[in-house]
Amino acid sequence: MLEQFLQGLQDTSIATAIREGESLFPWIECVHVLALTLVIGSIGIVDLRLVGLASRDRGVAQTTASVLPVTWTAFVLAAITGGLLFASNATTYGHNFYFQIKMALIALAGVNMAVYHLFLNSGADAWHTPAATPIRARIVGGVSLCLWIAIVAFGRWIGFTINTPT
């Protein structure tokens, strides 16, 4: 079932074009790298503020409001380009350990963020200083930072464990 899906994905005309084209794969990778650096950098701004290490003179709500549109735009771009890169060699990536862990870590980062937004950020408008930021928010920020760093590492390892240029 999964095998058939991966093979079907890989056989689509767009996946074939990316796989067999001269420069399509690297260009999509460029957009993917650009998008993921913006995802991680902008989430990092929020996380470092939650932990209390940066943007210390700004409230959490202010920091989040100015940064998150960048994060989401970049995330959509990263997901689309990542999906295209995956499709081009779906059967290989699908069985790659580092790819699987990377997807699991992204899901965990999503859960961490959802838990924060649904249950933990009530009163965030009043978190004007790091001292006023509760420990639960600091933990969420720290967990998010660790997860995203690991996501970059696993992403980079994919390139070294399958047979494409690194």
Binding site: V33, T37, L38, I149, F160
Partner: protein, 168 residues
């Protein structure tokens, strides 16, 4: 340096024991690349946030000077990390980058981006309100930001293309 001596330098560097370690211990290069990408993320995202403020698109509740104070450290401080990890990656495979036109292009673009960042930063040291004093200066600030964003995009693209373009 002539191409021939560059070539012999690359060969010499690749044969050094240190380079040999980087080549043979499998986890070092991806680990160094991971740190490199994280540092790129800090620089590019900070530059974008500052540029978006200069353009008046995001963070307008904070002055340009305050936004610059907030983000400039995250543009400059990762730079030594980028140079160090970049140097390690060059040492691991010298000809891949040193003989690669895309790598030379990337370094040129990087110097330009650094110059543009300084052009925004230096006037703020003398006068925190420098970029907000007149309509003309606001326009120049927007031009700086509009030049900075495509430069960083090009630097990232060039960085990725190093892996695909053969050295001369």
């Amino acid at each position: 340096m002539t191409l021939q001596s560059l070539d012999s330098f690359c060969n010499w560097l690749a044969a050094t024991p240190f380079s040999q370690v980087l080549q043979t211990v499998g986890w070092i290069v991806p680990a160094v690349q991971t740190v490199h990408i994280l540092a790129v993320a800090a620089v590019v995202s900070s530059a974008l946030m500052l540029d978006l403020r200069l353009l008046g698109i995001r963070g307008k509740e904070q002055s340009i000077a305050a936004t610059a104070r907030r983000f400039l450290p995250f543009i400059w401080w990762p730079l030594p990390v980028l140079l160090a990890t970049g140097a390690l990656l060059i040492t691991a495979e010298p000809a891949r980058s040193l003989e690669n036109p895309v790598f030379i292009l990337k370094m040129g673009l990087l110097l330009t981006a650094a110059g543009i960042t300084l052009a925004c930063q230096v006037p703020l040291h003398k006068d925190a309100a420098f970029w907000e004093l007149s309509a003309a200066r606001k326009r120049v600030a927007k031009l700086i930001a509009a030049a900075s964003i495509p430069l960083w995009v090009a630097i990232i693209c060039a960085g990725r293309w190093i892996a695909y373009v053969q050295g001369t």
